[in-house]
Symmetry: C2
Amino acid sequence: MSDEKPDFSGWTCPIPLKNYPTIVMGHGSGGRMMADLIQHLFVPLFENDTLGNLGDSAVLELPGPGRLAFSTDSFVVKPLFFPGGNIGELAVYGTVNDLAMSGARPLFLSAGMILEEGLPMDTLGQVTASMAEACRRAGVTLVTGDTKVVNKGHGDGVYINTAGIGIIPSGVNIGPALARPGDAVIVSGSMGDHGMAIMSVREGLEFEAQITSDTAPLDGLVDAMLAASSHIHCLRDATRGGLAAVLNELAVASKTGIEFEEQAVPVNAPVAAACEMLGLDPFYVANEGKLVAIVPEVDAEAVLAAMQSHPLGQSAARIGEVVDGYAGLVVARTAIGASRVVDLPAGELLPRIC
Amino acid sequence: MSDEKPDFSGWTCPIPLKNYPTIVMGHGSGGRMMADLIQHLFVPLFENDTLGNLGDSAVLELPGPGRLAFSTDSFVVKPLFFPGGNIGELAVYGTVNDLAMSGARPLFLSAGMILEEGLPMDTLGQVTASMAEACRRAGVTLVTGDTKVVNKGHGDGVYINTAGIGIIPSGVNIGPALARPGDAVIVSGSMGDHGMAIMSVREGLEFEAQITSDTAPLDGLVDAMLAASSHIHCLRDATRGGLAAVLNELAVASKTGIEFEEQAVPVNAPVAAACEMLGLDPFYVANEGKLVAIVPEVDAEAVLAAMQSHPLGQSAARIGEVVDGYAGLVVARTAIGASRVVDLPAGELLPRIC
């Protein structure tokens, strides 16, 4: 994905922001400095009339009828920049993906920025430019926002909240409770890339090959899947807690059991090696551009083929099925034919992953 | 407003949260501890089916056609609890009010919680209970949320982002650019209460009388105003930067001048005394339950009367008018008949007010 990254090399801090090389408390206080930040940094980068109007709310016209999807996510990832991405695109794709997981076409985003006093203006510029580029790639419009500044030492550079609105096409009905025994379980690609990319930079680990985050907008992939079948039962992006958390949530919500083959789950070789070295299970490691789909058996091949034809689903694989037994539990079949219960992780594997 | 506060005295931390008297990193990591927090604290307090479904997005049916209002705000107020309120109700009312300022009926909220490791579970419970009570009072439903935990020292107990969706009735067209020369400028009540309430606790100041925040949901007041006139031009809640910031934003957006009488602006005596003691101008001090309205002259008396009949507008007053001259400027006429330009504040008066 590195060829699709925005180019920051030409980014220069606009006047009058130049007068402040770092964020100061006054940038969050509703006065001229905050107005400068909004007018000279945020509005030009996200160029759209709704944001430019600067009302207390964005006023939106929805394109036709349909149910609304509404989602929010805060991002506190550490470090702000990591191999394959940064907090800005993560914040856009995270909410875009949450909307896409309900089958919605993501349309509008809000952004709430919590800036730490002392944040270099240049860093904020890069993060914001990256958000703007991510919005363009995902086809969403950032229409409203808010900026707060907290004292030095009471943040971590920048925390970003995004909320998003999308329209769910009529006929689409996707939800975590809808998995049925006999359904196929499909993942859209390799597991664990994002979490291990963060870990590699944060812990200063040197792996044999650089691991890059998979952060990406999944709405296009979901479009392709819905074109192949309008009967997809569940979609979930496998973020915090990884594949294991998602499968457990779906099993509990739908009161079914889920079985999968460990060997069928795609894991990139450098991630597998790094996990083995650190004693981690890649099924518990976070992703930021991968989804889990639960699909009626009759449509499974068509959905899988549609995924594999999409750039973000080339390594999609069928990994298991929904079963009648042990409602609420997830069971992995190992390479040697044994079975083990894959539980929800208790607490942190790696905090501040997104 | 103190008689409408939720009663925390009976609030007890539910099992299994009791096992963790404070927030730990694991509460933000997508595993069982986070699930416990959501299932045993958040979902019961905000009881509604949409939130309880725990999908990645809330799926909403809108009640009939109309334009959508969409807004977001993050809250980083310090301290978390202050005379007259706390960060929880502030976070609900802040976004409710932003929606109301576009003439929208607020319907749905999202909440993004950024918790600091070590936050007492009891504090989180009180803040959340207060948010739930505020939702009931404002008539909005909190339908989706997100929880992140940051390391001790990298937050301030809890930061809250809310985003909200409302429906704008047909025929209502309110926006900051719509002020016209000849329009009346009305405020809904006394200025500066919230900011001085925060300052009194944060700076440990003892004023003659306790000053309490005016935090309140303004959607009901706006309903009453719209019933009196469907031609209101501008509405704005006077939060950060106070009355001065709002009037400046409206003057700039509408390319008009705004004149007001200093003596006509209601300021409670304890706030006026505290401001004088500290050398502050109450017109720059934040409010959390007051709005500024710009209304065609022909409807001004009817709107003012409607406001004065509402519990949150009893002290509403007409303070000035929109004028033809000096576009983009705000001018105050003083008690002795002089005029002065009231500029946008440069930076902070009092940071972290909301």
